[in-house]
Every structure is written in C-alpha cells, then in structure tokens.
C-alpha cells in the first residue's frame, strides 16, 4: 500500500476517533463529575453524608468498572438504540464509550476531591458557606489540577476503548489497524496506525500534564 493510498484512510479513521473520543469525553464529564461529587460527598466525613446512597452509587460504579469494555459495548446495545436510534456507527459508539468511562472518571473525581484538605472545607463552613458554595467555590477549584489529571487519564482510556468500537462499526484508528493490518496483512498500515495512536495518546497526556501543572499553585 502506498502512502497516497494510506493517507485518506488514516485521516478518516483519525477523524472518527476524534469524534468518538471528543463526544464521549464531553458526556463523561457531564455525568461523571456530579457522580464523583456525590461519591465524595456522601461518604461518612463528607459534606452530605448518606451511607446508604453511597453504597448504592459505589456498587453501580464498581459493576460498571468491572465489566470488560468489549462486553459492556454489546450489553448496552438496547440503550444505544433508544438514545441514538441506531446501534452501529460512530455516533452509536459514543454511548458505550460514555457508559464505560463515567464510572472510571467518577472514581478519579472522588479521589481528587478527597485530596482537598478537611481544614479548608471547615474554614469555609466557619465562614458561613453552604454546601453548594463549598462544592462550587472550594472543592472543585481546589481539586482542579487533580481533576484535569483524572480527565487526561480518562481521555487516554477512551482512546484505547474507541479502538474496540470497530466491533459495532464505529470506525476509528483501532478499527483501521484491525481491518487492514490484521485481516488484510497490510503490515505497513498497521505500523503507521499504531504510530499515530501513540502520538495522539502522547499529545493528550502532555497537554493534560501541562494544563494541570499550569493550574496548580501548591
């Protein structure tokens, strides 16, 4: 296969990966951040302790995290159908990617929020701040570098999950490597795809690290 033959394939696949990872990252933050806040807040020493709620949330999150992504992707097909009207294609892949990443990201959010000192939270309470104020103006800003680090790990995980999206016709770089590199013995394309994936992951990680460092004033 020549470079001019590979090039359009690579661009298309990279675009599909970007779309899948981009949208699922957005939705993961949208659902995972509040879930992480609830996980941290409902704990015993948390802002709004609720042991029963926490146990249920913890269980759901753990189930989500213990399913291999490839299994989860098949298992949530009915949900995907309801949400997107289809079960194959790039858009359809966003649903399992999000469902797979939300519990993962929520745990990272929980950990980042726990890192915020108890004394800082209490100081805010002593100043008469309510819980919403404390979450919005103390916990999240103080944990921001940790949240960005968690988001970076999540994006990298989503890139790797998205490689399996070929199974449901999501396309993307992983799918390209499998279809051409493995099934059609196009070793060159396989190698190039792998290189592109490595570069993309490296870029995401470097960017995430830089932003986290920039935000940290510790």
């Amino acid at each position: 296969m020549t470079w001019s033959e590979m090039s359009p394939l690579l661009w298309e696949a990279t675009g599909q990966t970007a779309v899948m990872v981009g949208w699922s990252t957005l939705f993961t933050v949208l659902f995972g951040l509040p879930l992480g806040v609830c996980l941290a807040g409902t704990d015993r020493g948390g802002l709004f302790p609720a042991p029963a709620v926490r146990r249920v949330l913890g269980l759901v999150v753990n189930v989500g995290r213990s399913l291999p992504f490839i299994v989860l992707m098949i298992a949530v097909i009915p949900v995907t159908r309801v949400l997107t009207g289809t079960t194959i294609g790039t858009a359809a892949a966003v649903v399992p990617l999000t469902i797979g990443a939300v519990p993962f990201f929520a745990r990272l959010v929980e950990t980042a929020l726990r890192e915020v000192g108890r004394d800082v939270v209490q100081a805010a309470e002593a100043m008469g701040a309510g819980r919403v104020t404390i979450v919005a103006r103390v916990l999240l800003p103080e944990a921001l570098p940790g949240l960005v680090a968690g988001l970076t790990v999540t994006v990298v995980t989503l890139i790797s999950y998205s490689a399996m999206a070929g199974v449901i016709g999501g396309g993307g770089l992983g799918d390209l490597a499998v279809r051409y590199g493995y099934q059609r013995f196009e070793t060159t394309l396989m190698v190039v795809t792998v290189v592109v994936l490595v570069v993309v992951v490296q870029l995401a990680q470097t960017l995430g690290d830089a932003v986290a460092r920039r935000l940290s004033h510790r």
Binding site: A123, M127, T133, V138, H217
Partner: protein
Amino acid sequence: MITVSGLRKAYGDVVALDGVDLHVGKGEVFGVLGRSGAGKSTLLRCVNLLERPDEGVVNVDGRELTALGAADLRRARQRIGMIHQHFALLSSRTVAGNVAFPLEVMGVGRAARARRVAEMLDLVGLADRAGAYPAQLSGGQKQRVGIARALAAEPSVLLSDEATSALDPATTQSILALLRRLNRELGLTILLITHEMDVIKAVCDSAAIMSDGRIAEAGPIPELLATPGSRLAAELFPLPPAEPGAVTVALGTDPTLLSRLARTRDVDVAVAAGAVEQVAGVPAGRLRLRITGAGAAAALAELRGRGLLVEEDA
C-alpha cells in the same frame, strides 16, 4: 460577648468536653491553655458550632447559636472570624482571592469586595502581596492572610485555634502583636486556645486552664496572680519552692506599692525570687519577698487587705 455553659461533647468513649462554662467579655482577649488532648479545639469548634455539643448552650454576641436553624447559623457564623493552626488557605486562590472569599459568601458586590480586600491587606501589612498565591508566602505571611480573611466580614469575635503553633518564635511574636493591635484598634473580642504559656502572657487579658475536658480555673490574669494556690498563676509565673520567712506577693496594679510600703510601714523589703513579665503590655507577676522590721506585721496585713498576699510564711 461569648458565653458557653454546660458544654458536653463525647466522641464514643472519649469525653472531649465535660461540662464547660466560659465567659468572654466584650473587647477581651481570652486565652485557654491546656495540654494536647485537653479538649481545647473541641471547645473552640463548639463556639461556632463546627462541632455540635451533645449538651449545653452557646451564646455569641447576644445570639443563642445552639438554638438557630441552619440558615441563621450560617449567617451568624459570618460574624465570627476564625484562624487556624495550618492557616487553611485556599491554594487555588491568590491572597486577595482568599480574603475576598467570606465576602463572596455574604454576597458582597464586586466593587465593595475589592475595596474591603485592599483595606484588610493594608491592615495586616500585605498590600504588596495581593496577587501572590499562598504557596509563595512564608508561614507568618500566610497567617496574616488568614487574619485578613477572618476579619474581612467585620466579625465581632475572632476565634484562634493555635494560630501561632506552626510559626517560629519571632514570627509568633509579630502575629501576637498584630492580634493585640487589632484587639485595641477594632475592639475585637478574641478567644484563643494554645498550649504555649508565652502566648497567654503576650496577649491575654484573661485566661483559663483546661484539662480532661474541664476548665480547671479561669479569670483575669491579675486576679489569678493574686489567687492563692492558683495553678494557672503557678504555670505562667513559676517561682522556686517556698522558703521559711518569705512571702509571695502578686504585683498588682499599683507600681509603687512596695516602695510606699517600705516608707510608710518602716520595713525593709528584700526580693528573694521573682517572676515578672509584661502581660498584655503591663508588668505582671509574682515576687517572693522577705519583709522585716518593726512594721512587718502591719505591712503584711496591708498586702493581705489588698488581696495581693498569695502565700504567707511557708
């Protein structure tokens, strides 16, 4: 200004507060001294109800905090400043942002907030560090930010939980001097807890000593000094063991009393031992004296009458 009565608080089997009564007058600097684990922090945290006591009543500035609902309690807390041993500053905010925080909580507008923040930073001498982050400051500077933040909402009361315990001696002195100045200039009532004797001596008008969740002794420092058998006086101003023929006398408020006594009662006064220091800016302490001569008995009677004779001829 602050009155707590009958405070009890237990954590499981550990009784942190075992019936505490305390009164802090308006404009007073009140220090609670005690070993680690005595229950000091728990007491302080009960005053603004960060910790809810199992029993007892807390009154601050004429409001019974223990009777307030959640929203009213939050509003009342805005009028109670607090500073912390480890400063508890927001690392994600600049110095100015930290001082602005309580004003944001109160819903003060942006312009008024900026004005107040500038005022507060001037007050604590950090106007030039407004844009710095806490991580770029020294311990003493961090505590100044803590103080500016605590006072931004113009509280009537300041609570201090070991505010100088993480600082070196020189910085401790400058922070204590600042607290004293704020007390004088703003009429601020300060309740501070500490395990350091020197802090009490440096700034407090009154003191209490706490052990095992109880207040063992409390009162204005000059009164404590004049109280026979006072444990707090003995801890603050330790004298060598008593000796025959000597008496222990509190310094009192009259600086020329002893020389006058020598003149009018025709006695000789010899100092055998003494512990005298500036307490809140005035000399205070105890002297061990040998009073001899014809009028010795009358001189002792006068000292006794003034309530300054702490220990007679041991």
